[in-house]
Amino acid sequence: MKRALVTGASGAIGAAICRELAAQGRHVIAHAGARGEAVERLAEELRAAGHSAEAIAFDVTDADRARACLARLAEHAPIQIVVSNAGLYRDAPLPGMSPAQWREVVEVNLNGFFNVTQPLLLPMIATRWGRVVAVSSVAALIGNRGQANYAAAKAGLHGAIKSLALELATRGVTANVVAPGVIDTPILGGAFPPERIKSLVPMQRPGTPEEVAALVGFLASERAGYITGQVIAVSGGLG
């Protein structure tokens, strides 16, 4: 049974990805930074449904702790699917953005990807089968007012993933980016009232977490073995 780590699984998209991978028969390791209880409950829900799942909590920006937790997880068997989904936003127009807002968002979204993915790569490569999926955002493709930090960090994932894809192409490991658009989750809050969505999104509706998870699940599957180094948006035509 292949093992899949999904970071940021306490969020709506992360949880949907966990459900999708569990349904595919993977052993799912649901990660949260601070919201450990939420992923414990998610893991219980998945096990109650007959799937294989566990929860783990650590701060993705703490490189040493991440490495230690991942080493323990991988002791059992290498983790062959990594979905780097943990994210954070601290919106502000750039002229008014604080250094802390810039730094925190880059730390979690971009450095967090490195801290979680890098330690898992050599063991994954040794199995000659792997899937790395980074969750980005359409903001990284087309920009978004108030999200220069978020867009920068997420766009950084694109360069990293494309390079990684080239490095691992001969070793059975693919690396791709999924860029969600406006997705109906609690994070949206009041920022996207229906009129705004109608004028912004060609399909005139938000997407669902399941629609994002469906693409992640496909990219993580055996059938997507010839797709690598790609950035694919799930955004109803936006961007």
Binding site: L122, I125, A126, R128, E167, L168, R171
Partner: protein, 101 residues
């Protein structure tokens, strides 16, 4: 006159692998899933690029396998790496000199 057996006894002919070199070659072939037969690796041929055609990630994997098997640490930032990894023979010499016995 027959060759002086004392000078010939310890040095294998340059193109053949010593038993240590063969053992290392087997480790490399298995760790990297290479299609080459270990016996077919020429001891002086380049590991990187032409010759065996390995890339930087192969070197990483090889270093991990060597560390596990021989207890010899190879660091990716060692300035001597170009010399150490030049050929199977040079890599083996490095490993044999430092292995935990």
């Amino acid at each position: 006159m027959p060759p002086d057996s004392a000078t010939q006894a310890n040095a294998p002919p340059a193109a053949d692998l010593s038993s240590d070199e063969l053992e290392l070659a087997r480790l490399i072939v298995s760790a990297l899933n290479l299609e080459t037969a270990p016996e077919a690796i020429a001891p002086e041929e380049p590991l990187y690029g032409e010759g065996l055609g390995l890339d930087s990630i192969d070197i990483l994997e090889m270093s991990l396998a060597i560390s596990k098997t021989y207890g010899v640490e190879l660091r990716s930032d060692d300035p001597e790496n170009e010399r150490i990894f030049r050929s199977l023979r040079s890599l083996n010499a490095y490993v044999q000199a430092r292995r935990a016995r």
